[in-house]
Symmetry: C2
Subunit: 504 residues, 2 copies
């Protein structure tokens, strides 16, 4: 059955790949197996079973419910379970005493009423926003309370029942904690550390990928809309990682919360390690990543700057991007090596290359605006265009502008980078097709008839907007660099508080 085996083999290879990606997954699975086995031995071997009795099976349940991936999460869940059971036990015993004091007839009514109220109150409390993290604890209170009080009522001595159960839960909890933290422990702190370093690299990769694609896109591969919405940019792996970073804020906080429960370990050797600073650096990094998302939106926008215009600013854009990405990676590397350095040189280079980009945009800003503003303006407008040394020379005629959508960019782009001459007309054709494609729904007429709406002017308007799209892209890039300053500060604060070794 070679034909029938093929999907099974593929499945096995997938699973193997999944396990190999992170060997901790195998470790975790084997540890769970070990913990349930150890607890089960308490029952399978006669001697401990005779000491603890039938309620020892609760320890198995405790292991199955309490065993979490990381040490910190297990501690946290154990705390919920222990406190929940304790509260339920105390409350159950109290109610039981009251009910018994009220006599045989009233007893079941009091118990029933108390069950109703415990169910209603715990359910309401776990919805309350500040108590949501303890949701599991409230569930534990509810079912522990019901089990203790009911089995106490039906099976005699409620205190005995509660104590027995408490012992078994404690045994299960202790086995869980010992196996989890002593046998190849998976520390939440370590995960958080690696996650943060990975985020730095993801943002750097995504920035480079996005800018590279922006400069390479000659309009031939305008993406389908379904692609831009349904979020499967298959050819942009770094973008996926960056978006995952953006969506990871809840996960980050959860892991940091787990890490706080862990004792000093491995390379995180001092007490009160500043795990919350990791979350803060992550927040600043996300603040930077929002700009990358905006750049990505610009890349897949329907209104695009002409290819040759983008080419004109290629060296400056690329330089600023590469410097920024290098700074990001270097910050990530320093955190990874727990080293504190100020990155002054890299920061200087990022600033100077960004300023070069700004200056270049500034010098050639006339490329970004359309060429007919003076003719369209009301004549009474006082135009302030100070050019005291050179007056406007080499003016094209309007007819030439009308002929080709954006040929005013062509001659100028020569000064920065040679334009691929052969593809120019091709580019123009695509660009115009794209201009006409918006608005996608046809708008027949305007409600106010006094606005002049001939096709030519419409086209010019779009053309001007397309050129400004490059301004948008570079503005976003510059804003990204501005935010890097704050990232450097936040990283430095983390390094100081976590006592990273200094390296000047």
């Amino acid at each position: 059955d070679v034909v029938g085996e093929s999907p099974a083999r593929k499945w096995i290879r997938d699973v193997w790949q999944f396990a190999k990606e992170d060997m901790n997954r195998i470790t975790f699975s084997l540890k769970v197996g070990l913990a349930v086995l150890l607890v089960s031995l308490l029952i399978l071997i006669r001697a401990p079973y005779e000491v603890f009795g039938t309620s020892i099976i609760w320890s198995t349940l405790t292991v199955a419910i309490m065993f979490e991936y990381t040490v910190g999460a297990t501690f946290n869940r154990g705390f919920n379970r222990a406190l929940g059971s304790l509260l339920a036990g105390i409350f159950a015993v109290t109610v039981m005493q009251v009910a018994m004091a009220c006599g045989q007839i009233a007893e079941p009514y009091i118990i029933a009423l108390s069950i109703f109220f415990v169910g209603a109150i715990t359910s309401f409390m776990k919805l309350y926003p500040s108590l949501v993290p303890y949701e599991y604890g409230f569930r534990v209170i509810l079912f522990s309370y019901c089990l203790i009080i009911i089995s106490g009522y039906r099976m005699g001595n409620p205190i005995r029942t509660a104590m027995d159960r408490m012992y078994s839960i404690a045994i299960g909890g202790i086995v869980t904690v010992l196996v989890n933290s002593l046998v190849f422990p998976i520390w939440a702190g370590e995960q958080l550390h690696l996650e943060l370093v990975g985020s730095f690299n993801a943002v750097a990769d995504s920035l480079e990928e996005c800018v590279k694609k922006y400069l390479a896109d000659d309009g031939s591969s305008h993406p389908e809309f379904s692609k831009t919405v349904m979020d499967d940019f298959a050819d942009e792996p770094a973008f996926h990682k960056c978006r995952a970073t953006l969506n990871s804020s809840a996960k980050f906080e959860a892991v940091a919360n787990s890490a706080k429960w862990e004792p000093p370990h491995g390379r995180f050797r001092h007490f009160f390690y500043p795990w919350s600073e990791y979350v803060k650096v992550g927040a600043v990094l996300r603040h930077c990543a929002y700009e990358v998302m905006a750049l990505h939106g610009c890349l897949h926008s329907e209104i695009q700057a002409p290819y040759n215009l983008r080419c004109a600013f290629q060296p400056e854009i690329l330089d600023a991007t590469n410097q920024a990405a290098e700074l990001l990676r270097s910050l990530g590397k320093d955190i990874n090596n727990m080293k504190r350095s100020l990155q002054t040189n890299l920061l200087k280079r990022v600033h100077s290359s960004t300023e070069r980009l700004q200056r270049s945009i500034d010098m050639h800003s006339y490329l970004l605006t359309s060429s007919h503003e003076i003719q369209d303006c009301p004549p009474k407008l006082p135009i302030s265009q100070p050019s005291n040394t050179i007056t406007c020379t080499s003016k094209d005629s309007l007819s030439q502008v009308e002929e080709s959508g954006s040929n005013n960019e062509k001659p100028n782009s020569d000064d920065t980078k040679p334009v691929q001459g052969d593809s120019y007309h091709e580019t123009m054709r695509k660009q115009q097709r794209r201009l006409y494609s918006w608005p996608s729904r046809e708008v027949d007429d305007y409600e106010d008839g006094d606005v002049d709406t001939d096709v030519l002017q419409k086209m010019r308007t779009f053309e001007s907007t397309t050129a400004l799209s490059l301004a948008t892209f570079t503005s976003l890039l510059i804003e990204f660099v501005v935010r890097l300053d704050h990232l450097v500060d936040a990283t430095d604060l983390l390094a100081k508080m976590a006592k990273f070794k200094e390296d000047y």
Copy 2:
């Protein structure tokens, strides 16, 4: 104890407020109480207890674990629980038979080994990405298997144990499902419907708020950085809602997943109601909301267009914003009323007002670029500035430009909207302070010395970039409107598939 009572009273008021916000919370709590009470009665009343025996307490556990907020989620969890218990039961009975066949000595070893493997395999499987939604099911398998096989080994007949437990779990499950779906049911479908409508309004509100603030911000209230990172824009309630919408993709999918489990109900009367379309519309809406986030980033950016320049384009920006927000609200309202209408008029108005904005930017694009590009350019550059009817007039001298950072904007903004004359110098002062504040880390010298870096040129560069920031803002706004087209399409598809009543 009035002083001592005060926080307690505040707490009670808070809780009351929380309950009043959504009365479903009270309903849910009382329903949980009712369900646990009903199950407990099976034990508290003698007759059913004698029929079912001690294992009936498992039904209490089942209720406590299975009772979820919505009907669909409860069905889903019940499915996990039922299938998990069934698989665990079948597997436990099989292993038990094999172990018993192998003889007294081998039996505990086989049981111990099977527990280890079940623990390891279920733990590994629940980490696998495509199986993560069934995480609870795997937990159920693990602890059910352990409980059944262990109590079977110690307490005799494993099949009897398994069957008894199955009965009690089934009773618990049935009570949960009946109470949840018959007593004031909370439908996931209804929640999803309202959530989507709320998202439309949140994005519309946030857009308006953001633009209003952008046009009102005269630079006096430049936010602290900690504010922009730590995400507590206390004065922007709509922004919070919009960001919540962005982060709600996981919640949206979870609720839609629950809704699929629900039978037809209320106003969702036909089978196979297209809940997944809600998720798709939500995705397109989020795609629009990303632009609002970018606009918000622009609003809180460190590089800002001068106040008077923003004022110049105020009418067009405001008009486009209001039209877009109105379209969004109207789409949300239609979904809320389950009405299908094409919104042609509104869409037309949005398009025409956006085109007016584009045209206005186009006509005044010289405002967005600095005024000294000609002098800075290499003389050999062929400048194509076609102005065949009117030649450049009324040129300021360079000294005048040097004197004030952006006074070339002042006279021109008059043609669109009168500038508040008195605050002009004040604005200029703030603007210049802001320009100097970047870069926040001092960069002492440039690595390549040949670039001319006197303070004046630096300032000019910043000035030019600040003006382009307005272009960025409007580009993002236009891109938002472009995406609205797709939102209209997606909403229409939902209306068609969900058979909303037509209204032309």
